[in-house]
Amino acid sequence: MSNDTNDAGTAVPEEPRDRIVSRLGGLGLQRVGGLLAAVVIAGFIFAVWSDWLFLKTGNLVVMIRLMGVLGIIGLGLLVVLLVGEIDLSFSALAVLSAVVMGKMWVELGYHIAIGILVAFGVAIFVGLFNAFFVNVVKVPSFIVTLGSNTLVFGFTLLISRNTPILAQKLPPDPEEWQVRGGDYVDAAEYTFFRALASNYALPGRFPLQVVWLAGFAIVFGILLSRGVFGFRMKAIGGNEQAAVLAKLPVRRYKTLAFVICAVMAAVGGLLDFSFISQVQPNQGGVYLFPVFTAVIVGGASLSGGRGTVSGTLLGALLLAVISNGLALNATGAFVQQMWLGTVTIGAVVLDQWTRSRQRSESLGAGLRGLGRRLGLLR
């Protein structure tokens, strides 16, 4: 994306005034600045509305955890959008990964490592499945992933018999074991599993999802703004035909994008499972809307070639603030849904508005340049 503030080589000034301004200039900064402002304003409103309950540590932890999940899955979606495709199957896949892992580990009694490996294997398979139909069969990704979303969701319900999977460790007393029934896992493995997403040593069970998110954000940020990977992703998403004529490996990058999205969905799903130590197989659609909204609000374009890691992080934060704030102020799940819908439409309107502004600005720059050349302007 030409307005990526992380990328010095791509900053687009309307006029090269001075280097610092030109590096930070353009709409990238406006977008990030606008998002930060939105987060602060929304946070302030919720804080006052909730009589400052919103800013209590316990609530901030819940909010931050939500941001972590949205952000982690969102980074994967960002890559798919950058390359000019769409993925609707990541939400169902996040739940399937957790269910597969729980099935292997809790119900079938395999070692946790095998459970995790199989879960990622399933995710990679779904990513390849999507990529195959997009690249080889040439079905639009919207249709392919709409289908695989339902396929994955159905498969999840099938293998889990729509029963929640609960991870619980073997109690010390075998008698209690008899009384409580159900499946138990090895205590050491259980501790490892819970420690993936929560740290009891930190205040308020500090959600480690955010730490994971920070790590992924750094890796994705480098790959997308400094790597050949991101450069080519943006080129392919910006003009696929030009990428074909330039002989860029279009199919390989698209396959990579779908696999990355699937793997990140699995990471998000497993971390959520770890945090609440339970997975609900029928929650297959729970991430779809908030993650999509977060990424689009964060400035990724549905038509491809534009989007940043920083924007996605802020989008995830804004979504977390809004969802949490609304939940806290007891507006109820239904009104919360309506708010999410409103924010989604607003995000797309904002996206189109900034893009048309960008066009007119570059047109303006072109006219100014022409004027200078003709000696009409100084």
Partner: protein, 523 residues
């Protein structure tokens, strides 16, 4: 005959049309009489298509008038009266033949999908009765064209403009189409045929008007109407008395091409398009040479150029490179290895450039792997230096390499597209209409750059990249451009090489153009 029906003629008087600085029509006068087929010939960019569009009411002329039945007509009137038939029929492919006939006139036939007797007779005339209820998609192009004509007849259209209508038809289908053209003319309708194929014009048209530089210079009819004469008249200010025998020309050119003067940078033999756009092409491009591939739309010339770059499926042998040659002989992997050494720039800037990236990023878009460090990371300074180096070589006029792509003029955008293709230093550079829509100044700069790239000693591209350019191939139909930039032109007609011309044999563009047009028309 003319006197009796003069009231139904179209009279075009003093038509002027400008597009920006380009004069498309410069006082065009021409009359179309009922009962005849008026042929229109002219080089590319002469104003033919502007005339066609003005007649059809799609374009408003700046000055001048069009009279029909002795009265002046505006665009709306014309649009209702004129039907254009060209290579791609304007029909509803998802509807049946009968529905196509009815669509747009439903007010008179509410919810009635059946056609009446007159209409089914019309379809029978057009040889379409067997297909009345067939969806057009499933019919061959020729039947779609006939449906378009039937549709126009059902709507009482009186003027039929055939614009290169048969460039995608087989010979039999073409003959059938021409028969129908004569039928239309005999029924008193006004018929105009625009074609690049001189033979067809001479055989089928009663008179042929030559449009050059937006004017109708001369109209040939009767004994004057011969292929030679048309070819000669087509060339601006032609001064040559005789045009060489086409066959002799073709033979001489072929002989020169096959003579093993120097090493070949590109060699095709038995090169055949998978869907038959061209077949059995044998040609070679020498080291340091610029060769133009020329041919009318549908001749296979464009597909041939695409296939050299690996963008059209073809079989046969393709050899790229003087030394470490890669040869494609049938299987996909060897074809890819060979065409990987060919850089391609397409005809439309929109399909060559990334408008979401900056000028510098566009210049570097093809070689991102080569300028990254071992971890696959890019360093802003390396990027900027490389981009500025390329921008400098290609004289891209931009404030900075960070400027958005869309802020550049057309000529500079094209320089960026070519610069990006040469950055990786492919052995062969293939370009499609490299200066389409480019201003004169940028044009000559682009010609100079292409010459420099073809030269094995010319150091275009990024320093540090391996290899160098060995030859340049262009798809080009503009005589002036070929004359200025190419060493040799290879003319394609009906999917085969109809002849090759060496530019050094010509002193002026006019005589070259006359010979080329001859070959283009099929030889």
């Amino acid at each position: 005959m003319t006197a009796a029906v003069s009231g139904e003629s179209i009279v075009i008087e003093g038509l002027h049309k400008r597009y920006g600085d380009t004069v498309a029509l410069d006082g065009l006068d021409i009359t179309v009489r009922p009962g005849e087929i008026l042929g229109i010939a002219g080089p590319n960019g002469s104003g033919k298509s502007t005339m066609v569009k003005t007649l059809a009411g799609e374009v408003m002329a700046d000055r001048g008038r069009i009279l029909l039945d002795g009265a002046e007509r505006d665009a709306e009137d014309l649009a209702a009266q004129v039907t254009i038939v060209h290579q791609e029929p304007q029909v509803f492919l998802n509807l049946t033949v009968a529905e196509n006939l009815l669509v747009g006139r439903e007010q008179r036939k509410i919810l009635n999908r059946r056609i009446d007797a007159a209409e089914s007779e019309l379809l029978a005339d057009m040889g379409l009765s067997a297909h009345t209820d067939t969806v057009l998609e499933q019919l061959p192009l020729a039947a779609q064209q006939r449906t378009e004509i039937a549709r126009a007849l059902a709507q009482d259209a009186r003027i039929f403009l055939f614009d290169e209508p048969n460039s995608a038809l087989t010979e039999e289908e073409s003959e059938d189409l021409f028969r129908r053209m004569h039928d239309l003319a005999d029924s008193g309708r006004l018929v105009i045929l625009v074609s690049h194929r001189l033979h067809e014009l001479v055989v089928h048209a009663d008179r042929v008007g030559m449009i050059i530089d937006g004017q109708c210079r001369v109209i040939l009819s009767g004994d004057d109407l011969t292929e030679d004469r048309v070819a000669r008249e087509l060339v601006v200010g032609v001064a040559r008395d005789a045009i060489g025998d086409v066959e002799a020309l073709a033979d001489a050119a072929a002989a020169r091409a096959s003579s093993e003067d120097g090493p070949a940078a590109l060699r095709l033999s038995g090169w055949t398009h998978r869907d038959g756009a061209f077949s059995d092409i044998d040609m070679s491009v020498g080291l340091g040479e610029i060769v133009a591939i020329s041919g009318v739309e549908g001749s296979g010339a464009r597909a041939l150029v695409h296939s050299m770059a690996g963008f059209a499926p073809a079989t046969g042998s393709l050899q790229v490179g003087v030394e470490s040659t890669s040869e494609a002989d049938g299987d996909a992997r060897s074809a890819k290895a060979a065409t990987d050494q060919v850089g391609f720039v397409g005809a439309n800037r929109a399909e060559n450039l990334f408008f979401n990236l900056s000028v510098g990023e566009n210049l570097l878009s093809r070689l991102s792997v080569d300028i990254s460090d071992r971890l696959g990371l890019l360093h802003p300074r390396t990027l900027r230096d490389a981009a500025e180096h390329l921008a400098d070589q290609f004289r891209v006029k931009a404030g900075s390499v960070n400027d958005p792509m869309g802020s550049l003029s057309g000529g500079n955008q094209q320089k960026v597209a070519i610069g990006a293709a040469t950055a990786t230093r492919p052995r062969i550079l293939v370009l499609e209409e490299p200066t389409r829509g480019v201003d004169v100044g940028s044009k000559s700069e682009i010609y100079r750059l292409l010459r420099q790239y073809a030269d094995p000693e010319g150091q275009l591209g990024l320093p540090g990249m391996e290899g160098h350019g060995e030859a340049v191939v262009l798809y080009c139909t503009e005589d002036a451009e070929i004359f200025e930039v190419a060493d040799r032109v290879c003319v394609i007609a009906q999917g085969r090489i109809s002849g090759e011309l060496t530019l050094s044999d010509y002193d002026d563009v006019e005589s070259f153009a006359a010979d080329r047009v001859h070959l283009e028309a099929g030889g």
